[in-house]
Symmetry: C2
Subunit: 430 residues, 2 copies
């Protein structure tokens, strides 16, 4: 049943690379981004890495006529960097900050300070309720030795859980952002298979953009070539995903990316390429399209969640080892603290003044304090990893129940292994 | 239309006061709690302050036949303390850790270490989808000078947002826990008015328990009498709230509390009283009861959110002052750091050895580090408070739109004041 409701929706997504005093030509690029958005008049623009509120306010002023509705999500020390500009009224907003997001002492990476998160805005698109998510996951600094893999997997899990549980009443669901994952990476498969969200790049009728949909390309003025190795042609890490509902069928009619250099401009918009998706909306009471993941293979969901559980377990072991190291640091500092005490009581030929002892004591105290802070940090990380693993087990069990159709009480274990254990509901004792 | 689906649901909630080596008679009380739950066979038991996983595992073993489905929510350093025991299958779980939860340096209060949160479990009650929430908010240590009031208000806001956005597909919604707020406190009114959740104590047909439904009472062996001043009779801070849906009407048929001493036992279960609610469920396709807050007065919602915004703004000013103090500490430490440098170059009569200077330098470094950590902490708090205020403004604007029926585009401001400003969409420039 066709209605007079909107039949088109255009969504834009860009990682703006907006680190003041660090990102090149920041002010000029924000000017260009503002112009582009003014001109293109997308229904909704999802921006990431708008780290400075001043830059957000600049865009807000610039887009006050074209996109009068905005929300800037705030979290962490300098984050979250997420901003939404909309031509349609934003009714509500909700933020979920990821529980794991790197380490505060990794200053050169700095993700921890960004308070990475997923933001949800509920947009009234001429009577349609669109749940629009914008997110930015932890960066991948080394594909070969990715020390943040478990963090990114936990973030993917939290993202999918958040989308699953908050998209229920939506007519349309759109997710845009920088996932920092290749298309077939575990976190990406997890997200797609458990939310039913579909990747616009693989779904689109028409594509105009970089080869293979890449959003980090060698042809971009700002891209460091070594960051692309061994993917010289480029990487696809920015996405627009979508799903419809029982009331509205959503179809990606076209997807485009910027291609590095911009016509009549001396440099690109960002070190990432921007995405623009155009959706066709079919309002139909008898639409067979389901918003939920019911149509996806349960077995595929089970496989991917099992893989993710194994990875989270591995992350747990690594984090436990880090916590042990923090404990050793504390013990070492405590032992060292005994040294000035011993020196104070021993006859010593060297000039062990009160001040020397004090200095040594102060150093020990700093080490002890650092050890204690690290211990606390890794303890909270372990809690998060365990919580994620437990939730994954619950999902596995639920999928198993669906698969076997066995819904008799007592037939599955919540805290057990993913295999159903009818007579032993508590397989794993922690 | 009556069906063969369950017509009753019994829910239990208790703050277990389970701080190992601190809470009195912890082991014995967990024995008693386990016995009570085994015997009473509630459908769902919601526990708070189960701080030790060992105690959770004890209960899990004890309740393996009566409540085979469990989830223990993990967050923070030692938290979250939240546990669910269910006779019905738990299909899924989701945790939302509150963004503000006291200060890590307030060791004697310790809430920060608990990682206070709201946990959601989705329970399959014989075909009915029950969304069951368990939570524990920041404690109130002084009613006259409550330094955590803005934190608790932000927690209430995050709780209501979480419930609003994750309860959409539920047949039944139940929330139980220790809200650490009196019945008419702002956070409580905010929660009820914006979620449509109803307080079992005021809704029940039959009540058997402490006077005025108190859950902290003078007659409890473990209660410190000074904690009750000036409410000598007792305080009601533990709640079970509920709402039905269009498919199921939910009615609280009876509510009871424990009353301090327990028959045949030398002491009570906890320093809090336990709550038990029994719900009647009416399955009706033409039920007029709405799960949403539509039936509640929009104007009441607006008033309470305006009050909350004012409080959050006040919290923001206080936190900005704290951040300034942290900055002063940093500057002071930096200035002090110049002292040993100056002393090293000045001819000095006192015995300013290298070690003395080193000691002084080390002290300055510790002060500088502390100042920096506090600065980071308060900066993240400010982000959270601003985000909360922004979300509250969005809600205000949406309510205003509902109230006036004015849904023309450009008629409300997302970031503006709660009053609609048709020609000035961006009232407030931050």
């Amino acid at each position: 049943m066709a209605t007079e409701r909107p039949s088109r929706l255009r969504v834009f997504s860009l990682n703006c690379w907006g680190i003041r005093f660090f990102s090149q030509l920041c002010t000029q690029r924000y000017e260009m981004i503002g112009e582009l958005l003014c001109q293109e008049q997308h229904d909704i623009a999802l921006l990431q890495e708008v780290w400075s509120e001043r830059d957000f306010l600049f865009l807000k002023r610039k887009l006050s006529s074209s996109h009068p509705y905005t929300h800037y999500f705030k979290s962490g020390v300098i984050g979250s960097g997420l901003a939404v500009f909309s031509r349609h009224r934003i009714q509500d907003a909700l933020l979920y900050q990821y529980s794991l997001n790197g380490y505060p002492y990794m200053l050169r990476h700095g993700d921890w300070f960004g308070g990475k998160a997923v933001g949800l805005v509920i947009v009234d698109v001429s009577g349609l309720k669109a749940h629009v998510y914008v997110t930015h996951l932890h960066a991948e600094y080394s594909r070969a030795q990715d020390e943040y893999l478990s963090h990114r997997t936990v973030q993917s899990w939290e993202l999918l859980q958040f989308v699953r549980h908050t998209s229920c009443g939506a007519d349309l669901v759109v997710l845009g952002g920088d996932l920092n994952m290749h298309p077939q990476d575990l976190g990406n498969r997890l997200l797609r298979s458990h939310t039913g969200l579909r990747d616009c790049y693989t779904e689109t009728d028409m594509f105009d953009g970089c080869e293979d949909g890449h959003t980090l390309i060698a042809d971009n003025h700002f891209t460091k070539k070594q960051d692309l190795v061994p993917f010289e042609k480029g990487i696809r890490i920015d996405y627009i995903l979508m799903k419809g509902s029982q009331r509205v069928t959503m179809k990606c009619e076209s997807l485009s990316t910027t291609k590095g250099p911009v016509a009549d401009k001396p440099f690109p918009y960002s070190d990432h390429e921007a995405l623009t998706a155009e959706f066709g909306l079919l309002h139909s009471e008898d639409s067979r399209q389901r918003g939920s993941s019911d149509t996806l293979a349960v077995s595929e969901q089970m496989e991917v969640v099992a893989e993710a559980r194994a990875l989270v377990k591995e992350g747990l072991c690594q984090t436990e080892a880090l916590r042990d190291k923090a404990m050793h640091l504390m013990f070492g500092a405590l032992l060292l603290l005994l040294l000035p005490l011993a020196m104070a009581f021993l006859p010593c030929s060297c000039s062990c003044s009160f001040s020397t002892l004090g200095l040594l004591g102060a150093v020990c105290m700093v080490l002890l304090l650092s050890g204690a802070l690290l211990y606390l940090l890794f303890t909270t990380h372990i809690k998060v990893l365990k919580e994620t693993e437990d939730q994954m087990m619950l999902t596995s069990n639920d999928l198993q129940t669906k698969l076997t159709g066995c819904q008799l009480s007592g037939s599955s274990s919540l805290d057990g292994s993913p295999e159903i254990q009818p007579l032993s509901p508590f397989k794993r004792e922690e």
